[in-house]
Amino acid sequence: MAHVLVSPLNWGLGHAARDIPVIRTLLDHGHEVTIAACGNALAVLRQEFPQLPFIEYPDYPVPFSSGHLFVPKFCASMPFMLAAVTREHATLDTILERDHYDLVISDNRLGVFSSKVPSIFVSHQLHYHLPLLYWPAELLAIPANMYLHEQYTRIIVPDNPPGPLSLAGKLSRPQTDVARDRAYFSGVLSGTRQMACTQDLDYLVIISGPEPQRTILERIILARIGELDGKGVVLLGSPQGKPVPVKRGNWTCIPYVPTNIKAELMNRAKCVICRSGYTTLMELAELGKTQALLIPTPGQTEQEYLSWYYREKGWFYSEAQDRLDLPEDVAAARKYKGFPAMPKTEENTKRLYTELLAGYLE
């Protein structure tokens, strides 16, 4: 029995959510897992695995901008990020001195690697996408990324291999020999499971993302949902709000629901209207959803790229938040075919364990 340290980044819940099936697989094989995280990521994993030991392990704040100034703000925040990553790396040494670990799994935490213990990085972004105007920065990010990838023994890419089934497109394309040698394409990894239930909801709207964009989208959506035919639920993604559903005609608005209820609602929905965050998109793939309207968070270049990419592939329709016309866009979304058939999480985690993790743990 081996001991594994799993440490997801706390930028949204996506990193923690996709680590759930990996942790489950490790536990199923009788290994010991310690979770090192902070904030909501830690809360989600605590809720999912209450029996596991936890270490409060701070990371760094999200450098997302509230508008279209993501790149300049990100550039300005880089020295602070570097200081935080260095601190994070030093903290890991202390954690590894206190207890014995056979493997470290870092989900996008750049400072969580060790020269003494095999370290695996989990990321769907082997390459960063920036708007065309910033192409020199995108070019410079390639060697910077290569340096980071070199610190890890392997990289788990929660995507299908580059090709027609790739969910992350150019983001998961290994650009250097370092990435090519280390990358292991695990396929979709999602904590959301398919349930045997009827699809009795016409729409599920998931409003999420950093403020103030979350509130702006909430206003845009709530002003127009009455124009859609059918029954729907709006998840406002506002944990501060009272978790009391509010009825608005055929619609129910809920400020916040636990992840298991959200999973159930996603299973019941015929059409999902949501942000184009990668974890949400893996959930759509896992549940085999064919109808979705994607609304990227303004200024988040990754989401903007993924929306564009899926539209180009004919998988899902997307529209910019400031150009959203709900009835028209929902009608357009119906013409798209959804993701093609691909292996699901259960099969992927089995393969991941046999082909990669077992080599470090058995």
Binding site: C75, M78, P79, L82, V85, L132, E138, L139, Y147, Q151
Partner: protein, 72 residues
């Protein structure tokens, strides 16, 4: 000292130095245009503006080419 900190600091210093250099170049070009215009040297001014237009087009085309050949 932590290797991560050393390499990161070097990379950041080079990156910011590059930004400062580009900003300095832009200021010099603007001053050149303004100086030429105020001195009545319109041919010189137009020459610089044409140069800028050419550089912008080249910049965008290089970016598009790098996208097309999947370097970025």
């Amino acid at each position: 000292m932590d290797e991560l900190l050393v390499s990161g600091t070097i990379a950041l210093v080079v990156f910011y130095a590059g930004i400062v250099l580009v900003a300095y170049g832009i200021v010099r070009v603007i001053l050149g245009i303004a100086g030429g215009f105020l001195a009545g040297n319109y041919l010189f001014t137009c020459g610089i503006l044409a140069g800028i237009a050419g550089a912008v087009i080249a910049y965008v085309l290089i970016g598009m080419l790098l996208r097309r050949i999947e370097i970025i």
